[in-house]
Symmetry: C2
Subunit: 308 residues, 2 copies
């Protein structure tokens, strides 16, 4: 490819459902991308090896391979373990898990683990750590403060001087997806969620009522049946309940943490709901558009590993 600044590195973001590989030049710019719906969950080891071999044939000039996500979990190629928080770039670079996937040497990024002060409960992340490194390296998120990464499993991450102090995960997105795909709550959903009145009513119930989601979620069905809630607003109300409960947990773990301006990283529709929820609770969300967070994370890890 005539890359004047060397062969570059490969960064592979390999999750349960998707495979995304990037050829990253020594200047940190993405030269080429391979995206395929061949996630870890659907592949055996021979298939993982074959996919890496395909990409290696396409990018023979690459000098070093990195991978993050479920590839490093106990259902992936090899368990890369977890680095305990507080931790940051230097520790992750020092704990890269070196393996060979077929002929290709790959450094798998370990996950992060923490134990929260308030309830002494363990939490884990895998994949988001690389994205966070990129966001910090690029200055998209402040090196100190709370960052939210809403999604299927939303992460709330406390940073200090570029290191991760601790974090919280809420599976709000998966609960919504699975409980509305079939069963009782499928019958109360019709159309997408929006940050209107129904969302705010759900947010208030989820945040203020002190009742658990098992009771509140059934209540959505009761509201629709009793015509307190139009079915077209069902998804908005349910999202409000889940996000309200999640924000209450954030405030419980880190009192006052929602008061300032917080960076919100993720897909635009879900970020819009979280931003509305935070605004209703007196906070302010700054939505971060950063398509290159993961590749910047791999570049930062590579620079650190080379310098060490």
């Amino acid at each position: 490819m005539g890359d004047k600044d060397g062969g570059g590195i490969v960064g592979v973001n390999w999750g349960s459902s998707n495979f995304r590989a990037f050829l990253i030049g020594d200047d940190g710019q993405v030269r080429d991308t391979v995206e395929q719906p061949r996630g870890i969950a659907g592949l055996d080891r021979a298939q993982m090896q074959a996919l890496i071999a395909e990409v290696a044939a396409r990018w023979p000039q690459a000098t070093r391979w990195y991978a993050s996500g479920m590839i490093g979990s106990n259902i992936g190629w090899s368990d890369a373990g977890y680095v305990d928080c507080p931790t940051g770039l230097a520790q992750l670079a020092a704990h890269l898990h070196e393996v060979r996937i077929g002929e290709v040497p790959v450094a798998i990024v370990p996950g992060l683990a923490c134990r929260r002060a308030v309830d002494d409960a363990p939490d884990i992340m895998r994949g988001e750590e690389t994205e966070l490194l990129g966001l910090i390296a690029s200055g998209h998120v402040p090196a100190t403060g709370l960052v939210a990464l809403p999604g299927t499993h939303s992460k709330w991450v406390r940073l200090r001087d570029g290191a991760v102090v601790d974090f919280m995960t809420a599976m709000s997105g998966e609960i919504f997806d699975r409980l509305t795909a079939a069963g009782l709550l499928a019958s109360v959903v019709d159309g997408p969620a929006e940050a209107g009145d129904a969302f705010h009513a759900g947010l208030k119930a989820g945040h203020d009522s002190g009742l658990g989601l098992g009771t509140l979620l059934f209540g959505a069905r009761a509201r629709v049946i009793r015509q307190d809630l139009p079915k077209r607003d069902g998804a908005s109300y349910l999202r409000g309940l889940l996000i309200g409960a999640e924000l209450a947990d954030v405030a419980r773990l880190w009192p006052g943490a929602l008061a300032g301006t917080l960076p919100l990283v993720g897909a635009a529709p879900v970020c819009a709901l979280y931003a509305a929820g935070m605004a209703a609770l007196g906070g302010h969300a700054q939505q971060i558009l950063s398509h290159d967070a993961v590749t910047r994370g791999f570049a930062a890890l590579h620079a650190e590993a080379v310098a060490a």
Copy 2:
């Protein structure tokens, strides 16, 4: 059938998944039963009509038909509506929804609706009201006090002088079933739930932590990955979380309500978990075995309707 005390009545308990019909003699005893996995959710109107015609041909001597459950919902044969609480036997008998299913006149029992004082939220039940009438009529539950009916959608019902004052529903069972069938939490479950140490740890977290289920349920996965929790104990821990959160809601809605001896009506395995949870929180559960609650409920309704 030579029934010396007349033709008897038919009571049909027709839910989403199952159809159960009983021929009940004038003495309240069950003479014959038809059970089929032909629930409302899988049938169109012609199929509902055909099933009723089959049973009517088998029991030509029946003088009156009653039905309860989803047959009276907006996805059933005809919406029998809801009677507002506080309400009891006399009001339900006065609000029977009279329809014809094909050639057969059927009185469908309405559901119950309430609006709880603490959060002004609506709640609904359909089907359990007939079971409750039977439990009260037979003296299996006291006419005044709290009754628990754990299950897919657990009901907690406050009775006063045989009438339902108000109630709470938590969809703890459905949340467990759906979130462990696939996705993240399927990976932490291996075997049935038992009321041991893992259950009690979950119960304490769900009841005491003040954190929401979205955060706590993800925490179960983190515990397994961090080897705080053996996978074989995953189901017990998850059930503990859900039951702990549900019991906290009961205590929040009706302070002190869990302190006494409470009747627990339902399937033995799930009742055993609830009984253990209540015992751990200083209460005492009395498990009620009452296979004939529904038929006793139909008999009580019939006696009331005839007397009125």
